[in-house]
Amino acid sequence: MRKNLNVIAAYSIMMVLILLVGIFQSWNIALSIFNLCLISAVMTMGANIQWGYAGLINFGIMGYTALGGLAAVLISVDPVQEAWRAGGFDILMALWLIVVMVLVIRFILKRFEKSKIRTYSIAAIIISGILLIRFSAEPGIEAIEAVDPAKTGFLGGFGLPIVFSWIVGALFAGGLAFIVGKVALGLRADYLAIATLLISEIVIAIIKHEDWLTRGVKNVIGLKRPAPYEVDLQTTDWFIKLVEKFNSGKLSVIENLADRQAALNQLVIEGSSVFVKLCYSGLFLVVVIILLILTQKALYSPWGRMMRAIRDNEEAANAMGKNVVKQHLLIFILGSAIVGIAGAMLVTQDGLFTPGSYRPMRYTFLIWVMVIVGGSGNNFGAILGGFVVWFLWIEAAPISLFLINFFTAGIPETNALKAHLIESVPYFRFLLMGLGLLFIMRYRPKGILPEKIEIK
């Protein structure tokens, strides 16, 4: 118990902070912070597996998050029959062409010795294949995008419950990680960082501009929910009774019957959105706990020991007969798949998919700050990092507003400097994150909860 004291203390402080937000701001805000903290925690667990366990640097988190989000769209949206009729055949043909191209290239790679002619012929196949696909798919794509562009204009999905997409998102992200890992993992650390960052930008560019698949920057809204809708709850009897029961003390004070009914209605509206958020919290919590158990088990298993050995000394591990390349690829896929789950969860919670909102600052670098601040190599640390950093990211604006008002209390409102500072309050969060990262890296390089390895 004693050795875990700092973990318990850190988590209790975090919970108290969120409760304080609930009490002083509102339970709605507190719960939305908590939910996003949970999603961030899943992302940091993914990044932590790659960086903390294996020392692999992955700056492509944004790409995997977006793929997870795409999975949510493709799984949950109902198929657009008209669009399938209009251009489905062309798209399937293009897919088939891609498969053929990959198979041909694989065949050439296997069959022929490495030579200049082989390289050039592969390049020629790729270029002509891309041109062929582009021209053959063009009419289909145009036809699909012309189908009621204000509402659909894309192929739609499979119309399944959205929760399935959490698994499919992991598969998508893992698949991309397989390709990226195959080509890029041999690079030195900082090159790998740049390569993964750029590849994730390519993924976003594709998601943004292939409207037939994703609707692109037109966004997909109104996705199905795994939780009840607020509007339905507000008219459900048991829910109204539940709210009444919870607030019986508050309501009994009000004498007038009409006033009491009005107050109850208000409480039901507030309560419904809190209830929906609680449903999400429950779902997310289950995911976080399952992942935590699995990752902890992995960390203390022989496999986890091997990963640490590879991380700490690649050559020695190689000399002991461990296949470093294969293990790196495996862990790259696992970590990215977890990030993919988080991406699908995020879209599930928001109920909409906005490709334009995927920016490296928010989805790559902020996650890295979480991992570093929380403590790389320690799952509890990574989760805590997700909580702390997301909490600060949201609460930075109110905190800095308070500080600015506090320090400029003597200056009148009309002062240009004060007005300017108050106007730029939203950007203080970047400052806070940057300074936080720099201080942690300097004075506590292993993070708030450092990696602790006990040999059992």
Binding site: F365, F430, M441
Partner: protein
């Protein structure tokens, strides 16, 4: 005549814009490559440092404009650039003193440096946005065009116009002067040579009495000059927006690596490689073919290899291909 028209078309829409954009990228890429070669880390704060320098330049431009100082037909910003550079160098040296110096003394691995530079990126972004705000700003003044498209048509009697913006000429001219000066400095002066020696082999350089503090100082000064001028030229030609500058970091990285990171000349050419391939692959050649081919063979579509949406993706794909097949870059840089 059609042939001349086609040439003018390509000049106007491909060659001149690509040359301008390439020059802006080249300056940034040399900045990245110098930091990588001498201080030995990938600087993820590149784009934001450039936006800091540009911000300082803009503030001085506004100050000069309010005083009524101007350069006539030239943009006032040219007058403000030296002041911008001064503040940029000051900022960089401050950051080096409080942040990077510690890790240099610890001999930290490059990955840790990269992480620290992300911290610097966050802070710089905040500073720029707090001081000047996130909005899109234009600070160009003076004569906008050297040759207007309409005037050119009247002058030559051709169908196609050639527009030459003064910012384009300034960008290309300044880049050529700056880069020649830089190569002269690196190859001919004693300090420049010692920088190269330090980049090649640190221990050997220290052994032969090269002062590492001086090398670091000079590197940051050159980096500050390059970052400010590169950023200011980009801002003059297009517009200044902190977010765009952050995004520009990616093609700049691509340029530096394609040219062989650690090799300034490679970075210089890498900028043009990236710029030309971005524009060549996303330009719609329909009009060009209309001039060159006989009327019966006129193309139906736009004859565009990739839609302009994929402009950035082009440079990243080139980078990925180069990293895979020739990791040390087209012009050999530091070996991985």
């Amino acid at each position: 005549m059609d042939f001349v028209n086609a040439i003018i078309l390509l000049l106007n829409y491909i060659f001149i814009p690509a040359l301008t954009y390439g020059s802006q990228l080249a300056l940034g890429a040399i900045f990245v490559t110098l930091i990588y070669g001498i201080l030995r880390f990938a600087n993820f704060a590149t784009g934001d440092m450039m936006s800091f320098g540009t911000m300082a330049t803009i503030l001085f431009t506004w100050y000069f404009q309010s005083l009524g100082v101007s350069l006539g037909v030239l943009p006032t910003a040219l007058l403000a650039i030296p002041f911008g550079i001064f503040f940029m160098i000051l900022y960089m040296l401050l950051i080096d003193k409080f942040v990077f110096k510690y890790y240099r003394h610890q001999k930290s691995p490059p990955v840790q440096f990269a992480m620290v530079s992300i911290g610097v990126m966050f802070v710089t972004q905040a500073v720029v946005r707090i001081i000047i705000g996130p909005a899109d700003r234009r600070f160009f003044d003076g004569e906008k065009f050297i040759i207007k498209a309409r005037e050119f048509k009247e002058m030559t009697g051709l169908n196609e116009g050639l527009a030459l913006k003064s910012t384009q000429v300034i960008t290309i001219f300044v880049t050529i002067v700056l880069v020649s000066l830089l190569f002269w400095f690196l190859n001919r002066t004693k300090t420049g040579k010692s920088m190269k020696a330090y980049s090649d082999n640190e221990d050997l350089a220290l052994l032969s009495g090269i002062d590492p503090k001086k090398i670091v100082l000079v590197t940051w000064i050159i980096a500050g000059i390059l970052a400010t001028i590169g950023g200011a030229l980009y801002g003059l030609d297009k517009s200044f927006k902190p977010f765009t500058y952050f995004n520009n970091m990616l093609p700049i990285f691509a340029a530096a690596i394609v040219g062989g990171i650690g090799n300034p000349f490679g970075a210089f050419l890498g900028g043009y490689v990236i710029a030309f391939s971005e524009i060549l692959l996303t330009y719609a050649y329909k009009k060009f073919f209309m001039y060159v081919l006989p009327a019966s063979m006129e193309p139906e579509g736009l004859v565009q290899l990739l839609s302009t949406d994929y402009k950035f993706a082009v440079s990243f794909s080139i980078l990925v291909i180069v990293l895979l097949y020739r990791p040390s870059g087209i012009f050999k840089g530091k070996v991985l």
